[in-house]
Amino acid sequence: MSDTPPALPFLVCDCGYSTDVLATLRRHQYTFHDGLVGHHTQLPRRRPRGESTRRRRCVGVRESGTAAGVADDNDGAHRTDESSAPPSHGSPSSADSASTSDTAVESQLRTLLELTRIWVPPTDGGGAAADAIPEYLHSSVGLHVRALYEALGDAARGEPLVQRRKRAKVGRLNTVRLRALQRFVLQAGGAGLSEKDQGFLYEFLDVWDRTKAGMAEDAGHQATLRGTFPSVTAFKDALRDDLDDAALCAGWKKVKLVEVGVTYEEYFRDVLQVIRKLFKRKNSSIQLWSGPLGPAPLEDKRETPMDGEAFKLCEQLVTGSTEEVACVLGLHVYSDRSQLSCSGGMLYCVYDGVLNLARFAHVILFVAN
């Protein structure tokens, strides 16, 4: 079955427009009168966009009183074979062309639907909500499918992807260097730089352009990147060398561990070196003993980690076992190895006044009254 509408004997529009072909009449009605309005159609009314333009066109048609007036539209968009013709090259912009093309497709579809569908009266037993939506038979499956999706109106509800900034200034990256910068910002790392990284980049370029206020000057102030690194390889090698040097200076090592037949790679550094560096860096804020001049006695004071019983017990043992001036270097270790997000220490009420810690069921916790 074809989608071509059959000829029907309605040839004169209310506005006075007349034609020999019904399809042309319907197209005129949908173009200039928002279609055949009534309960018999399930299609939404046409969008109000361009309504004033259409009314202006309709006035022009009324004035001319001929179909030629439609074809001689100012922008050349309205053609007799709208469904197949490409958008007019005479349209002022591509957006207008797309809009015209959409309108032509929409108009053709509406005409097809209106002329070929047959209303199916509601049958007994259907729900009230189901009966409220009229049912139609269509001339072809393809048309039926299009009608179903047109009823959803997804495309019509589409919005622009982004909202243009107020007083937006487009095209300011208009030199070779700035376009290269733009390309880098949009392509770096595959997805481009985040807004935070863009801020970092601006700060960097400000320094690189030697325009940052108050920046220090040295022997390489006027040096260029190519002057220092003649090739990409030299640049990458320099970066890698510095990175490797930083890792080595920090004392990082790696080792392969074989456990029950499987090899794992571990990264670690000597905690003693870490402690020594911390000691050196924070020398002014280091306190040797729990008391001001030596180990403090056990008491209830709990203001710093050095007030804990564990620290003071260790301190007493260390200072009492050597002739030398000695102190305890307390360490706290934090490990996040477990993949569980929770220790399982869920609290729930057993009876009034007593809580039970699920995984430490022997621990009885009293709620202070």
């Binding site: 456990e259 571990e266 924070k282 260790c314 030398e324 102190c327 934090y334 609290l347 022997h362």
Partner: protein
Amino acid sequence: MVLYPVAYKLYPIRVRLVKDVSNCVEWVTAAYVPTVRKLQEPGGDERARIRRCGILQRVIYAAFTQVIGRSHIGFRVSVKGQKARAFPRVLLYLCDQPEERAVLRLKGGQCAHPCTSCMAKIEVVGAPETVSAERRNVMNTVNNQVQAYEHRQRQRRRQRRLALGAFDSTSGGVPALAGMAGLGTAPLLLYNMIGFDVLHVREPPSLVTGFCDPPR
């Protein structure tokens, strides 16, 4: 050394210096523990658990080798012109409950002695009398762990090994930190060093007002 994007498969071990009395608390990463996944093999769960515990202990020992050695003999430090011999001690190990059992090489889940710091039996846990339960003996437990480990390494005396594991609810390995002074020696704080990270606890700690053996 270049760390490629597999870094997300590693978990950090961080240390902090207690003697730093400034308001700025600084944790420094000392090691990264690789993630151990379960493999498609017979007894995959059990083997993955053994690997996980073994790797953790080896990572801890690799990072703390020098500290463990120096915890016994000390090293010289100078603070504001005052010289002293410092003896490193691990006072607190922050982790979550499953890792606590792994760090100390104790059995997790349902076992005869589910408590880390005392020997309360599972039949009586939750009862008030467990408040006075016998404390876990560091020397005995670690000795048993070492003995069981030796048997396992040499694939001998399986019954004895199982009995040793059941006696203290240990999991067949040796805790690396037991070699550290202060934990494996007086004042024997090995089973008192664990503290739970508040980020890993669902309920606010203000509800908790007492423990049978409070962390020091």
